[in-house]
């Protein structure tokens, strides 16, 4: 973004959010390498421009409600491990937007993204500028070394291409994030996202056709490919996001455990079970079979020590309900 573009973003932020908006931009931790970019390509102004755009989806389209922010460490390295669904990764964008809205001072969320997206012209550049990085071990480790908040979908693309009949059933978690969490002493925050499954129900997917087009699958939804590209517009299903109690695996397991495939597999299953449990409870709450307070209570039940150890409590007004 050229200097004029940066100025425009700042003006827009000031116009929409007042001086407070600019303050939040300035206070977001950012490792500037000299020209307004960090070494991964994140540019603060583009990141906030993206946030301003996504915020409309967050507030008006998906009407996100969220809870459990006190479980997200305010500083230091942390891994967010949510479920993944919905064909297009709006769930990642909503989590990023939610944390920007709720955390004070704001923290940038660095998403680990599948490789193929970075090969696309314009898309790849935009993703870099908004803080997303290609999913390599080196990138992941470097982000943790920089004490960043890293968003990784342990299901990978398997999560977003699963058919409708498998909705809210987690696919097998990868183990790479467990290994890095132990090696780099980073807590894992399990995250449950409800609503993304309904934004694009996949009735059928063709892997063969997808492979030819350079995609994981070629999906068939009620509207795609029937309506062409317009059919990819997500349905306005309401999102519910919950952040669970952090798992401090490195406190329980020595670094050597990160080299034991059996241990890694078991721990990945443990995290998967935790996320699945949060999803199941959330579905009960959403269906009205359990009180809304139940979900929040479960998430907060054992977090008193964690919240105290990781910074101030969430600011006033951030009561866990979406705007």
């Amino acid at each position: 973004m050229n200097p004029l573009g940066r100025t425009l973003v700042r003006r827009a932020l000031q116009a929409l959010d007042g001086v407070r908006g600019l303050e939040r931009l300035e206070t977001m931790p950012f490792r500037d390498e000299g020209f307004g970019f960090d070494r991964f390509g994140l540019e603060r102004e583009t990141f906030w421009a993206g946030y301003l755009a996504v915020r409309q989806l967050y507030r008006r389209w998906f009407r996100v409600r969220s809870t459990g922010h006190e479980n997200v460490p305010r500083e230091g390295r942390v891994i967010l491990a949510p479920n993944h669904s919905g064909l297009l990764p709006f769930d990642g964008a909503m989590i990023t937007c939610d944390l920007l809205e709720r955390l004070d001072p704001p923290r940038s969320v660095r998403s680990i993204v599948d490789h193929f997206a970075f090969a696309l012209p314009y898309v790849g550049v935009f993703m870099q500028r908004t803080g997303q990085v290609p999913g390599t071990t080196r990138n992941f480790a470097d982000l943790l070394r920089q004490d960043e908040m890293v968003l990784v979908f342990p299901e990978g693309t398997r999560g977003i291409v699963k058919p409708w009949r498998e909705r809210y059933r987690l696919q097998k978690f990868n183990v790479g994030f467990i290994e890095l969490a132990i090696e780099h002493e980073a807590p894992i925050v399990p995250v449950a996202v409800l609503g993304a499954e309904e934004q694009a129900p996949i009735l059928f997917g063709s892997r063969a056709l997808g492979k030819k087009l350079g995609m994981p699958i070629f999906p068939v939804t009620p509207t795609f490919p029937l309506l062409g590209p317009l059919g990819l517009i997500p349905y306005p299903s309401q999102y519910h996001i919950a952040y669970g109690e952090p798992l401090w695996l490195h406190r329980e397991y020595p670094r050597e455990a990160a080299r034991d495939p059996g241990v890694l597999q078991a721990l990945a299953q443990k995290v998967q079970a935790r996320v699945q449990g949060m999803i199941d409870l959330g579905l009960e709450v959403r269906a009205g079979r359990a009180p809304a307070s139940e979900w929040a209570r479960t998430l907060r039940a054992t977090t008193t020590v964690t919240a105290a150890a990781n910074g101030p409590a969430i600011p006033a007004g951030a009561d866990g309900r979406g705007r």
Binding site: F37, F118, L120, Y122, V133, N139
Partner: protein, 319 residues
């Protein structure tokens, strides 16, 4: 004699010339500079140098005969040269219109002769283009990253990679100690590098939809890094890059020349026209990957080995 006694190849290149001049000027630490280049006449900038501290040797080191003449020469042996800084054979290859592959063979022979002559330390200035850049390449590239063995790559890149590998095969042997330096895109006055050539174009053309992060280095810092390596004589492969990390578009904007982004099918003919009329020295005919994917070098290894940290920020319009 206790100071450095260094042979420098490609001594008439921009980098080689400045490096020789710096070495010659460092009277306390450098005893003798042995500058080798294929130009027959001693360049004007070397003429006033004292023969006790400076020797200019004209030879095409791609020829085995010329190598023998050099390493068996009384002037060479008397000086007790124990370090070689090899800037490659780019100028010789271009001047004599040889194949880039000859540079690899030439370097291999040079290493063999250096070994036979019991030269203690050999520095090869490679480049960041040896790395294979892909959409999923890590944002920061260290020395263990994958090299570009793509058979469809540009001949110059293939030659660089092969030369790099030749140096690495010699690293397994006891002598000489070998330092392979892989600098980021070098920027500086009259320097030939892919990014420098692009920025020197009258109309800077970039590929639409891509804006790779890069970490260029000023030629001053490259020379400083080599100088440090001559002192510390590290053995291995080391990245070296400047202090600035930014996208290509930022450097193009700071450069001040008019720029334009074009889609691939248009970029190639425009670049071809530019080269035809001498408006650009940058060859984009193969749509090189450095125009698309990031290449930010990790310099931690060199910092730990020799304590070099680049300090020269890229400022366009100055010497």
């Amino acid at each position: 004699m206790s100071g450095l006694r260094v042979l420098v190849t490609a001594a008439t290149s921009s980098l080689g010339r400045a490096f020789c001049q710096e070495l010659y000027g460092d009277q306390l630490r450098v005893d003798h500079v042995f500058a080798v280049a294929h130009e027959e006449v001693v360049p004007y900038y070397f003429r006033d140098y004292h023969p006790d501290r400076f020797t200019y040797w004209s030879a095409n080191l791609l020829k085995e005969r010329a190598l023998k003449d050099l390493f068996l020469a009384e002037r060479f042996r008397r000086r007790g040269i124990d370090q070689i800084v090899h800037f490659g054979f780019l100028r010789t290859i271009k001047a004599l219109r040889l194949s880039p592959a000859d540079a690899t063979e030439g370097t291999r022979r040079l290493l063999e002769f250096a070994q036979a002559a019991k030269v203690d330390h050999f520095v090869y200035a490679s480049g960041c283009l040896v790395y294979r850049l892909r959409p999923w390449t890590s944002a920061v590239i260290d020395e263990t990253a994958e090299l570009d063995f793509d058979p469809g790559a540009d001949a110059w890149i293939k030659s660089r990679v092969d030369t790099d590998m030749v140096c690495r095969t010699f690293m397994d042997q006891r002598a000489p100690r070998i330092t392979v330096l892989r600098p980021g895109p070098i920027i500086g006055r009259n320097v030939t590098s892919h990014v420098s050539d692009l920025l020197d174009s009258y109309l800077v053309t970039r590929l639409a939809g891509y804006d790779p992060m890069m970490r260029p280095i000023h030629s001053t810092d490259v020379r400083r890094a080599i100088h440090r390596c001559l002192d510390a004589r590290p053995h291995g492969v080391f990245n070296v890059a400047g202090p600035d990390i930014a996208p290509l578009s930022t450097f193009c904007r700071l450069n001040g020349r008019p720029q334009m982004t074009l889609p691939g099918p248009l970029l190639r003919p425009v670049n071809r026209l530019q080269r035809l009329f001498g408006l650009s020295a940058c060859d984009l005919s193969t749509l090189p990957r450095w125009l698309m994917y990031p290449c930010v070098l990790d310099t931690t290894k060199l910092e730990e080995a020799v304590g070099h940290r680049s300090t020269h920020h890229i400022k366009f319009g100055e010497a």
